[in-house]
């Protein structure tokens, strides 16, 4: 940061951009809550909610956390490692949760058709 003037720092983005990102985040959240309100079956809920959450996370990281405007090598240091690590965790735990489910005895009185995965 040696060559920078004290008063003006580079920070890409404008008030307008950040407010529009915020509105997108609110709309996606509102959509998620609406799906809960109409009581969509849990399996659809899971897929749509995780999809929406990943989009929201991407918006936050790219614009609010400014990663989109950083150097490519910083992005490549942070993002792929995280994605691969999380996928590896899911690789083991996601299939095994079905095994554990089938081992359950006696048969549950209320077979809740739900499973959960995918976080970022």
């Amino acid at each position: 940061m040696t060559g920078h003037a004290e008063t003006e720092e580079h920070f890409a983005g404008s008030t307008k951009l950040f407010i529009s990102i915020w509105i997108w985040l609110l709309l996606l959240t509102g959509f998620e809550v609406f799906l809960g309100y109409i009581q969509l079956p849990v399996i659809y809920m899971l897929v749509i909610l995780m999809g929406a959450s990943i989009i929201k996370a991407a918006l936050i990281v790219a614009y609010f956390m400014h990663l989109r405007f950083e150097r490519l090598n910083l992005i490549l240091t942070i993002v792929p490692a995280l994605v691969i690590c999380i996928c590896l965790m899911l690789l083991v735990f996601f299939p095994d949760s079905f095994r554990a489910r089938n081992l359950r005895s006696p048969a549950p009185a209320q077979p809740a058709a739900e499973k959960k995965t995918r976080v970022e």
Partner: protein
């Protein structure tokens, strides 16, 4: 300086600032990486416990979901005020930046207060980390008692991050005249990360546990 400029002109060049960010900012990014893996592990453990057991889905749309949606709104808005603080700081407007940071911390405290009300409500119903309220156990026979453990564990861990973030932001707002712009930006990185985690906690803990029984 000239060699450094040459070195960083390519995306693969090194130089003294290989990522073109200060060492503190790089440190925060590395912390965020490790912290996201912590939260991923917690959420995946929760998903695993939930998928392999009968799991209670106790939250009524009103008041629980509406209440937690308001909490989400508060946290999302705090991210906007934080980015405004960073923007003001980038333009050298220190006092404006301080006001936005204080607004962010205030929203953070609001979030904690709302969350505490939620916790108190669940605890008064009889939920503990290893035991379900009698009413729930009756409604979902054979349900795993770990609902409380995952709920208090994950939301508690998140609330701890929000509380730490509030203290962090108060310190930054107090020292904003002495700090460089990048230091304000770093506190922003932490705060947005806390918001990001809630974007997964809210749907996974609340929206997927809506009580659909009449």
């Amino acid at each position: 300086m000239a060699t450094e400029a040459q070195a960083i002109s390519s995306d693969w060049g090194g130089g003294r600032l290989p990522y073109r960010v200060g060492h503190r900012k790089l440190g925060m990014w590395l912390f965020i990486m490790s912290d996201s893996l912590t939260f991923s592990a917690l959420l995946i453990a929760y998903a695993y416990a939930r998928a392999s057991n009968v799991w209670p889905t106790p939250f009524k749309f009103y008041p629980s979901i509406v209440f937690s949606s308001v909490m989400t709104l508060v946290l999302l808005s705090s991210s906007l005020t934080m980015v405004m603080a960073v923007l003001a700081s980038a333009h050298g407007q220190k006092s404006k930046a301080r006001k936005w940071i204080l607004a962010t911390a205030l929203l953070g405290v609001t979030f904690i207060v709302l969350h505490m009300i939620e916790w108190r409500h669940l605890i008064s119903e009889g939920l503990t980390p290893f035991k379900l309220p009698a009413e729930w156990a009756e409604k979902w026979p054979g349900a795993s008692p770990l609902f409380g453990a995952t709920f208090f564990g994950i939301t508690g861990m998140h609330m701890f991050h929000v509380a730490t973030g509030c203290i962090y932001l108060l310190i930054v707002s107090g020292r904003v005249n002495k700090l460089k712009h990048e230091d304000v930006e770093i506190s922003g990185l932490y705060w947005h990360f806390v918001d990001l985690v809630w974007m997964f906690v809210f749907p996974m803990i609340y929206l997927l546990s809506i009580d659909m029984t009449k």
